[in-house]
């Protein structure tokens, strides 16, 4: 392993962060707010740390898989650490633990917050907070690879390490082309949502920050009541549309935007994703109307927004879903665990794994009925061998296990069971709000510091799809 090569690549990621810090700093300067120096100084440090290794380490196009993994994981960890600096330098509610929580929550696109008064933050810092979502949404390495002109084979290794293993299936292009598609779709969706929100009467700052959070399926809003602040059906509809789009595999979106719209419907993953969301919205609407509090129209409006927000792992809110009927909350907890499609910016177990899981169950039943039969697990035209299916089941078990373990620690720290479980599931799935005290109208400020560290670990495990982080901490035993 060559530490100098790792330093060089991680340096590039720091430079990328520095660019966004500088933009936040300019916004802060224009508003003459108190975040100007914290942002400027962090941008400076980040840029200096990024540039310096490049002076010494000559460029290389060859990196090993192990180096690739370490670069990807270190890039995430260091980005989160850089994200901490402007928060702690600014002060307010940010202790080191709180700043780390907010930064990790931003970069992993979780959207959980420790802030009790978001609007007290200066605009520059609010922009940086949303920018962390946008940088982390598509994957910081993907962004870096897309802007960096030529990395040869090393680019491919980093790309493969950063992308979810399931996500590669719908990309039928070379690495460079795939990266371009990802970035074009990502930037295109962000621009389209910003313009749509501007047309709905939002200010440019709010439109940009909300677009960053929607397309990255993050959930940070610069307003305390989140999207509920605007009390606008038009704003909610625009955000719903872009949340759904952001939860679909970007390769399929690209195909749809380039005229092959039928590709979307041909994908059984997308069909399942949309059917599950529709069923969830209907179930929650009926449950809310049945509680005698909401009219049909209000029940549909709130259910549609909240279910889609959770089901795409975005985490925006228009109302406090913590006080909803138990059935509605359980439906939402299911979506907190599942989330949207692989190849999108969404977190969670992902619809792809759910489909694969059910197909594996069907295969098992058929195998019991016909022991001699050779049965393959297939999704559309792709056949999956037993190793992939086993890995999928292992991932699911491990995922649920981590959620339970994290909830167990939180309850040991005195957190109530609903907040502990839903909070763990929401951070593991990079969703954001849970239920109870960590619900859509609450925040994570009252969680003990140790609990916040546990939750940030689950955020990173969820974002790096468990094995990435595990490989990193066990890299010495990795041959």
């Amino acid at each position: 392993m060559r530490p100098q090569i790792i330093l060089r690549y991680v340096g590039l990621v720091l430079l990328f962060n520095a660019a966004f810090l500088l933009i936040s700093c300019i916004i802060s300067g224009f508003n003459a707010d108190s975040a100007f120096f914290p942002l400027l100084y962090t941008a400076l440090i980040s840029a200096l740390f990024g540039v310096f290794p490049m002076l010494f380490v000559p460029p290389t196009t060859k990196i090993t898989n192990k180096e690739g993994f370490i670069i990807v994981v270190l890039s995430w960890l260091l980005s989160c650490l850089v994200g901490v600096i402007p928060y702690i330098m600014w002060g307010g509610e940010f202790s080191f633990t709180n700043a780390w929580f907010e930064s990790v929550s931003g970069f992993t696109t979780t959207g959980s917050s420790i802030l009790t008064d978001i609007e007290a933050l200066p605009l520059g810092l609010l922009f940086w907070r949303s920018a962390t979502h946008w940088i982390g949404g598509i994957g910081i390495i993907i962004f870096m690879l897309a802007v960096h002109p030529s990395m040869g084979k090393s680019g491919m290794i980093l790309y493969r390490t950063e992308m979810s293993s399931l996500a590669a299936d719908n990309f039928h292009y070379r690495t460079r082309k795939t990266l371009q598609i990802l970035v074009v779709i990502y930037v295109g969706l962000t621009l389209a949502e910003t313009i749509s929100l501007l047309l709905c009467g939002m200010s440019i700052f709010d439109a940009v920050t909300h677009s960053f959070a929607t397309i990255a399926t993050g959930g940070f809003s610069p307003k305390n009541p989140s999207i509920g602040y605007y009390k606008s059906t038009a704003v909610e509809i625009v955000i719903i549309v872009f949340m759904i789009l952001s939860g679909i595999h970007f390769g399929l979106l690209f195909a749809a935007f380039t005229g092959k719209i039928t590709d979307l419907w041909k994908s059984s993953i997308v069909r399942y994703y949309l059917a599950a969301l529709t069923t969830g919205v209907i179930a929650v609407t009926v449950s809310l109307h049945g509680s005698q509090v909401y009219s049909w129209a209000d029940a549909l409006r709130y259910a549609a927004f909240q279910v889609l927000s959770i089901g795409t792992s975005t985490g925006f809110a228009t109302t406090d879903s913590s006080i909803w009927p138990s059935f509605a909350r359980l439906v939402m907890i299911f979506f907190t665990l599942q989330c949207a499609c692989a190849g999108s910016t969404s977190g969670g177990i992902k619809a792809d794994r759910m489909v694969l899981f059910w197909k594996a169950i069907v295969k098992r039943v058929k195998k019991i009925q016909h022991p001699a039969a050779v049965i393959m697990v297939k999704i559309d035209t792709a056949a999956f061998d037993d190793e992939v299916v086993d890995a999928n089941i292992l991932f699911l078990s491990f995922y649920i296990g981590i959620v339970f373990f994290s909830a167990l620690i939180l309850t040991a720290l005195g957190v109530d069971i609903l907040s502990a479980f839903s909070g763990s599931a929401a951070t593991m799935g990079n969703v954001g709000p849970g239920f109870g005290t960590v619900g859509s109208a609450g925040n994570f400020s009252q969680i003990p510091d140790v609990g916040k560290w546990v939750l940030t670990a689950t955020m990173l495990l969820g974002r790096l799809e468990i094995f990435g982080l595990l490989l990193f901490v066990t890299f010495k035993s990795w041959k």
């Binding site: 100098q4 440090i45 740390f49 310096f52 702690i88 330098m89 600014w90």
Partner: protein, 254 residues
């Protein structure tokens, strides 16, 4: 890029990180000093003036009671000196309008004090008002309470601003300290990285070159020396390799 520039860049980066943090800390500390001065000038002065006015009002109220009981000389002397004290406090507060809402508060005090003063300026001793407690409680004491309430509002307004400024001071002190802490930690990490890179790209090639020359002198064989960068060390190793090649050619020609 040459070694000199690389090493210089390292030191420049270290200096920049520390210097910028230092300059900013000084700026924040200076602002803290200014804020403390502002706190004293703008709020503390008004609060003191308010206290002076309240004390004067209470003396005036006692003097009115003396007038009510028929002690004209004593009452008049106290009330006139208390009025002077009130006017002094009022002038101070009027000349120190620095926060939003303070001007309106001063105007209210002025109007209410005028109404109050008009009541005690008129004769009390040897009139129907002497010993008339009903008149005192219904008119005089009510007017006194009104002025006192207005002065209280002015004091509360300044107290509130003082609290906000103090909170702001706490944040500014935090912001003055943090660049230093961040700069020290960043400098420590940077030093480790700098040391690693110097060791890997400068010290290690020098050691392997020295060992190589030693081995050439002992065995006549020069092992491959790898220098990844195109800097002075690279040129040095290339020169040594050329020199070795020339020595070998010269030896072969002998």
């Amino acid at each position: 890029m040459g070694l000199r520039i690389k090493i210089l860049a390292g030191f420049l980066i270290l200096t920049t990180m520390l210097a910028v943090a230092g300059v900013w800390s000084i700026y924040e500390l200076t602002t803290v000093g200014t804020s403390v001065q502002r706190l004293l000038d703008e709020n503390y002065k008004s609060i003191n003036a308010g206290k002076m006015m309240i004390e004067a009002l209470e003396r005036e109220d006692s003097a009115v009671l003396l007038l009510l009981s028929g002690k004209w000389e004593q009452g008049r002397s106290i009330i006139e000196s208390a009025d002077d004290q009130f006017q002094k406090g009022f002038m101070t507060a009027q000349g120190n309008v620095t926060i939003p809402g303070e001007g309106a508060s001063i105007d209210e005090i002025k109007a209410r004090y005028k109404a109050y003063k008009e009541l005690w300026l008129k004769p009390i001793v040897d009139t129907s008002k002497q010993g008339n407690l009903d008149w005192y409680f219904q008119e005089m004491h009510q007017a006194f309470q009104d002025v006192k309430l207005s002065v209280g509002k002015l004091v509360a307004l300044n107290h509130q601003t003082m609290y906000q400024t103090a909170s702001d001071l706490k944040n500014r002190t935090h912001r003055a300290i943090m660049p230093g802490i961040v700069a020290i930690l960043a400098a420590l990490i940077f030093t480790v990285i700098f040391n690693f890179l110097i060791n890997y790209y400068v010290v290690s090639p020098i050691i392997s070159t020295t060992k190589g020359i030693q081995r050439f002198m002992e065995t006549g064989e020069l092992p491959a020396i790898q220098v990844e960068t195109e800097d002075e060390l690279f040129h040095l190793v290339s020169s040594i390799q050329r020199l070795v090649a020339e020595v070998r050619t010269a030896e072969a020609q002998k």
